[in-house]
């Protein structure tokens, strides 16, 4: 019921009919395309045209706080972007943020999925509780972490420490979570939100294992770890890749958590936040657009690899 068992018949049919261009007359081909066109044209207009405009604006000297000084800027904006240390830092932050959140939530998600694959009392309730973080509106989650959990004076974390200190009679430390470790704070809140997502995908993967093989292995005397190492994990690989890819797509773009939790802290500012700030605070449309173009180019490079991964996922599906 998962990747590998997706229906081959369609694929076969698709490639046989899809490539038979010459055999179909024009009208028939357009009749085939017709249902696709509204969605395709809409997507091109709404998602591609703005980027072309961004590209155009990136060559202009256009700063709203300087209304009299507009014109063609050549590559000045790009020079400004590449010489801006804050932007370079934000690239690093973006990479760190995305990589750590994806990896940690995959690992935690795997652990939880393995737990949920066991039989125990109240499994449904546990699963429901574990999904809850993913269903909190992201900006609500960010506000919750910032004000109700991380707040150094009355947040739950320091409150809990004080309480423990009271119970066990030690002087509870009261860390300043967001000030001392802004990036970590954002990472923690995002891991909390994304672990359930990874767990759900991996759980689906676990439950699609061919159980007869696992049972046969168990009868042959394989230990639980051996089963995991040689049967479960290889089977899960594809699901791990899928979770990693989808998580990356969304976390690279994260804006809500960075903006809300750390305000304008430099140590956590990621690329979307930096561009937003150039657009809004500096009102430098030219420079913001140039930064946007640079990010788009970077994304295309990364996306090419990512798409290849997805593509291989679906090739695998096709192959079976």
């Amino acid at each position: 019921m998962a990747l590998e068992t997706a229906p081959p018949p369609t694929r076969a049919g698709a490639s046989s009919t899809g490539r038979s261009g010459p055999g179909l007359d024009r009208a028939a081909r357009w009749a085939r395309r017709a249902p696709l066109l509204p969605a395709l044209i809409f997507t091109i207009i709404v998602t591609q045209l703005p980027f072309l405009a961004t590209l155009g604006i990136s060559f202009l000297r256009w700063n709203l706080s300087d209304p009299d000084d507009r014109g063609f800027a050549g590559l000045d904006n790009y020079a400004a972007v590449f010489s801006d240390p804050a932007l370079r830092d934000s690239v690093v932050n973006t990479v760190v943020l995305t990589a750590v959140v994806v990896v940690v939530s995959l690992v935690l998600g795997l652990g939880l999925a393995l737990l949920l694959d066991q039989r125990f009392f109240g499994r449904g309730a546990v699963r429901t509780m574990l999904i809850a973080p993913f269903l909190v509106v992201p900006v609500a989650a960010a506000l919750l972490w910032k004000h109700a959990l991380f707040n150094p004076e009355f947040g739950l974390l320091n409150g809990g420490l004080t309480w423990l200190g009271g119970v066990f009679g030690f002087d509870a430390p009261q860390p300043e979570w967001i000030s001392d470790m802004p990036l970590t704070a954002v990472i923690v809140s995002l891991v909390w939100q994304w672990t359930p997502f990874m767990m759900l995908i991996l759980l689906a993967g676990l439950q699609s294992r061919p159980m007869d093989v696992v049972e046969a292995a168990a009868i042959d005397g394989a230990t639980g770890f051996q089963v995991f190492r040689h049967l479960t994990f290889p089977h899960l690989r594809r699901y791990l890749e899928l979770g990693g890819l989808l998580g990356s797509i969304y976390i690279v773009q994260n804006f809500d958590a960075v903006f809300t939790i750390t305000g304008a802290s430099l140590e956590a500012a990621n690329l979307p936040y930096q561009i937003y700030q150039t657009f809004y605070k500096a009102q430098d449309y030219g420079r913001a657009s140039a930064a946007g173009v640079v990010v788009v180019v970077g994304s295309i490079i990364i996306a090419t690899f990512a798409l290849r991964t997805v593509s291989s996922l679906f090739k695998a599906e096709e192959g079976r």
Binding site: L116, V126, F134, L135, G159, Q253, P272, I275, A306
Partner: protein, 287 residues
């Protein structure tokens, strides 16, 4: 709750039943992950001074003041206009997405166009471009066309945001319709409409529901466009939520109450359809 949760239990390996501690560990982790949500709900039911104590006052008397503050608004019209805006943008865009995505998915699976994989990957690639890089032109277009602060414009943007995911999802669902049945229907002389209604729709309906759920959640959650493009009349619930962080002393209970209310539609929809959520989030690759 999902109908499928009971099923894996039956399949679980009997040899592993001996591992009793797993249940305890699972419950413990579930409590850790749910704690912030439970804390949010509890805080929303406390008075402002009780919400801001250290150590936390778990057993403080419960009150609905936070919710009263939220629904009473900060003097204005209250949360209803933003909630209605959020509902209309989310549901409106979901409907348009389905109307566009289902035919497109049909043309990518059941009767595929030439080079359909390229088209499919084009759709996915649009999701990888950073939204923020297109923000400025979109703002300018909205300004010059008089569409700033207009919920219809936001609905349109949400449609474009969700369409690629919906196309992927619907394609994977439609691809499940067995060829033989379609061919059999054709031999029986069923027309296109009949085939769609009698054969394709019943098989695709769960997929449509999953797609709708995902699109609804993503639209409901969206903040960046909403914050830049709306103002007096078209503000959505997430934007309204951010306005509760004031510089006047304590606001924790009120913000938590607001966060609970704004998250409620997603929580309800998500809990009601957990399995759909997984399918949807994995672009239909995991079923």
């Amino acid at each position: 709750m999902s109908t499928t949760t009971a099923e894996p239990a039956a399949r679980a390996n009997p040899t592993r039943r001996a591992w009793r501690p797993w249940g305890v560990i699972a419950w413990a982790s579930a409590l850790v992950f749910a704690a912030p949500v439970l804390w949010m709900v509890l805080t929303s039911l406390h008075s402002e001074p009780d919400a801001a104590t250290n150590p936390p006052s778990l057993l403080a008397p419960l009150t609905l003041d936070g919710y009263a503050d939220f629904f009473g608004g900060i003097g204005g019209a209250g949360p209803w206009p933003p909630l209605v805006n959020s509902f209309s943008a989310s549901i409106g865009s979901t409907v348009i997405v389905l109307l566009l995505a289902i035919p497109a998915a049909y043309a990518l699976s059941i009767k595929p166009v030439e080079r359909w994989t390229d088209v499919l990957f084009f759709f996915l690639s649009t999701k990888m471009l950073p939204v923020v890089a297109g923000l400025l032109p979109i703002y300018l277009v909205a300004q010059f066309s008089g569409m700033l602060d207009n919920i219809s414009f936001l609905t349109l943007l949400y449609t474009s945001m969700n369409l690629p995911i919906a196309v992927w999802l619907m394609r994977s669902f439609l691809a499940e319709v067995p060829r033989e049945i379609l061919e059999a229907a054709a031999i029986d002389g069923a027309g296109l409409i009949t085939t769609l209604r009698r054969v394709v729709a019943p098989i695709a309906m769960p997929g449509i529901a999953a797609t709708a759920l995902i699109c609804f959640i993503f639209s409901w959650n969206e903040l960046l466009f909403a914050r830049v493009l709306t103002g007096v009349v078209a503000g959505t619930a997430p934007v309204y939520l951010t306005g509760f962080v004031t510089s006047q002393g304590l606001f924790l209970a009120k913000v938590c109450a607001a966060a609970v209310v704004v998250s409620l539609p997603v929580l309800i929809a998500g809990f009601a359809a957990q399995d759909k959520l997984v399918q949807g989030l994995s672009l239909g690759a995991v079923k």
